[in-house]
Symmetry: C2
Subunit: 495 residues, 2 copies
């Protein structure tokens, strides 16, 4: 429940754990340092795979609980399908195979035995699940079938890995649902998108724009994809959680039919959707600063770090008062859970502890020493702004909750500002290219043709992010090919 004891090499250690670059000057290097030095993640012996250390994994658990409760309310039931997918199953839906096969890790041997058929490690579970769904679903009475699984997936990317944001193994929940009608299936899209939006806004404090993916960027095997896209402080866009409406595409490939109420056999309508541990990286990348991680209060494990200022003559009284504070705070309800509160009574100097808990991103620090004991007060320091206030002891709990709420809202607003400042609307390719060179996210009319998107990519390096679901629908000319379109798209150089 604390830091580390003082050692001879205290100063050296202090230097080791500090971040040596400014976030504003070199985001990539800053990000790597902040993730590693905060002990949120570590590299592993397997290239491209990280260790999710407790500091980050426990936050993921919290996100799991939040999302899982919302999904269960919708009637979605968790299950678990095998990690392995036989090659023949993966091959059944051609677009899907094409989308994933370059990144599939293949198991070819067990012990010394070569397998008869090589097995894919799931990059996603459509193919193995739908093989079962085809057997389970007979009639409209078996529908809707709404399942999800929390698991690990592997996509053997050959691009440069970045902890949480891009790696060869990640954790997620993948939802796979089957309906008797397209309308019901599409309605689920609204429910799921609403959950994603609430989680990003209310908990992760991450701004986003929701929209439909271009034809080229639509999920392999889906009719359309809805995505939430966020913007990192280096103005790079990154895709967050998504929702895919598959129509009857997979149903036809995997023969998922049901007897409808008219006694006719009909292919079912399907959706898939997911949120992954990538969001940890998005959250850490957006909120952190030159002192370390900043964890939004609603997903923090430790909300308050109490640092006693210890001198021999007042040590016992100061510690006693800190423990009283801890007890009071940790029995306080904060949005349906109790606050996480630690006392750092290690032998390090107060300054070391301040830096340590800042690095770890604890939202609120309380400093308490002999002077505070005397004046019956405590000093509260907010992690994101660094603002210090002195509060009478009996007001600490109320004030702490107030600060946490303010901080949560402030982090979100900052993220909104980062996003809004990054976006610029353009209507011709000269402005498009200039904006990209200035590292902006571009908002431009686009015809949604895959060939035209390829052309833009080749010319500028940018790809579409998504297209807002509601637009004015006036006729415009595509920024690249000039053909008529009614849709704006976001473009960017993305992760």
């Amino acid at each position: 429940m604390a830091g580390k004891d003082v050692g001879n090499s205290e100063e050296k250690e202090q230097k080791d754990i500090g971040i040596t670059v400014k976030k504003s000057e070199d985001f990539s290097e800053w990000y790597q340092q902040v993730i590693l030095k905060s002990e949120f993640a570590d590299y592993s012996a397997v290239s491209g795979c990280i260790v999710y250390r407790p500091e980050s994994y426990l936050i993921w658990e919290k996100i799991q609980r939040i999302v899982d409760a919302r999904l269960k309310k919708l009637g979605i039931k968790n299950c678990y399908f095998p990690l392995f997918i036989p090659e023949r199953l993966l091959k059944k839906e051609a677009t899907h195979l094409e989308g994933f096969s370059p990144e599939v890790a293949w198991v070819t041997h067990a012990g010394d035995t070569e397998l008869d058929e090589k097995l894919a490690i799931r990059p996603t579970s459509e193919t193995i699940m739908y093989d079962s769904f085809a057997r389970w679903i007979r009639s409209w009475r078996d529908l809707p079938l709404r399942t999800a699984q929390w698991n690990n997936v592997v996509r053997w990317e050959f691009k440069h890995p970045v902890p949480f944001l891009r790696g060869r193994e990640f954790l997620w929940v993948e939802g796979h649902t089957v309906f008797a009608s397209k309308a019901e299936a599409e309605h689920e899209g609204l429910e799921i998108t609403q959950i994603w939006e609430d989680v990003l806004k209310e908990y992760l404090a991450v701004a986003f724009f929701t929209g439909r993916k271009s034809k080229k960027e639509t999920f392999a095997g889906a009719e359309y994809t809805i995505s939430l896209e966020s913007v990192l402080p280096n103005n790079k866009a990154i895709q967050g959680p998504d929702f895919h409406h598959d129509g009857q595409i997979f149903a036809k490939a995997y023969d998922i039919k049901f007897l409808n109420k008219n006694g006719e056999n009909e292919f079912a309508y399907q959706n898939t959707w997911a949120i992954s541990t990538r969001m940890l990286g998005v959250m850490f990348g957006i909120h952190g600063d030159d002192n370390g991680v900043i964890v939004p209060p609603r997903v923090a494990i430790t909300h308050v770090a109490i640092v006693p200022i210890l001198y021999d003559d007042t040590m016992d009284q100061v510690l006693k008062e800190c423990r009283k504070l801890q007890e009071e705070l940790s029995s306080t309800m904060y949005h349906g859970e109790t606050l996480g509160v630690l006392i750092d009574d290690s032998n390090y100097k107060p300054g070391w502890k301040y830096h340590h808990w800042e690095l770890k991103g604890v939202p609120l620090r309380i400093e308490f020493g002999p002077k505070d004991l005397e004046k019956k007060q405590a000093v509260l320091v907010r992690r994101d702004t660094g603002v210090k206030i002195t509060v009478p002891l009996h007001e600490v709990t109320a004030k702490a909750k107030e600060i946490l709420d303010e901080m949560q809202e402030h982090l979100y607003q900052k993220s909104v500002a980062i996003m809004n400042t990054a976006i610029i609307t353009v209507h011709d390719m000269a402005a498009f290219e200039k904006a990209l060179d200035e590292r902006m996210i571009v908002y431009a009319p686009f015809c949604n043709s895959p060939a035209c998107e390829d052309q833009i990519k080749a010319q500028t390096g940018a790809k579409t992010l998504n297209s807002p679901l509601e637009q004015k629908n006036s006729e415009m000319k595509c920024v690249s090919c000039g053909s008529v379109t009614k849709e704006y798209f976001y473009f960017g150089r993305s992760y």
Copy 2:
């Protein structure tokens, strides 16, 4: 929230879902049928890997919550390490490699690219975790390091797979902890074993005997292994959760050293421990009967199935009363959670519904029809005994909780009886072999020599299960080789 509507083929379906063999006559066949027909699990397209359908997965989630809360109380922190283990890491501890390598699934390719080094799918995570631990641990201040991960592991068994009990992929929590002293590490053994015993007894209602594994059966790389062994109704033993004290064996292989308080470098002391989804199978196998699964109330998702007896003229009133009952019951606290209560208002006949919810193992059924409406009563039917009682409506909630508690205790006592009846003490090989032929678990003095155990295995097909931690310590002769020993061991033909 209910079964299925009535179809033309109702009778056929009813027959399909019934169990066609008696548990007492053919346990293996009964077990397979009960697991599949209850829709608790299904076979998958990958040989030896099952689908954990929601009916069983949601129970596993409940076990996770129970175990996780206990582990968190001990200060154990969850994390997540890669699925993959490079071959060179797996090779570092020779005994460990030897123990697992015949069952390792190997990834050799990613996309079309052959990997430079083949990667094992984790059969357990010692080797990948300890590689990190060696970097993280510097001094006594970094200890204890107590971590666990909930994940999937793969052991490519070539024996006949049995759903939950033996398969190529299963789910578990694996604990990996590091201490500065042997005493602390061994103390954790008491804490963890206590959790395992409480979970089996209080929640799964599964009887067990705790003991130390023989030298031959000790975990590959451990100094000693403590296991909980249970007995299935076919008198076969099956190993449940375990605890391994590794001493400094892994620390030496993976170079996990710390600077102790005397300023000297010392190898750390380690433990590993686990509980897995195998326990679902043990629980279903022990408690189920010829009508289907029986889920112990403390781990049930649905505790009560209300079946209304519907006639046209009283339908509305009966359903209204059922909904009142549901509301009352589902807002009732039962051991810290609310009761799960469903109303089956589908169009099937009541008899169909009774069978359906019996098959699914719901602990308590409430029947409610026009006569009950008139008399302000309800009929409560307990799943395990089939005992029906009629209770005034205002007493239903209290009585339901009472029945659930009685049932929980009764299931455990039945499991104890199965276990005790299965065990016989012998002191010579003639009695040993006779007992095994009669499908008993044998309790016999044994010298604990691996060579002697090999000899017994060759002669009888039995292996040791474990040896009670506290014994009388009088001198006896080993049942096989006749050398002096002070220990009894359990032996059996096991899963």
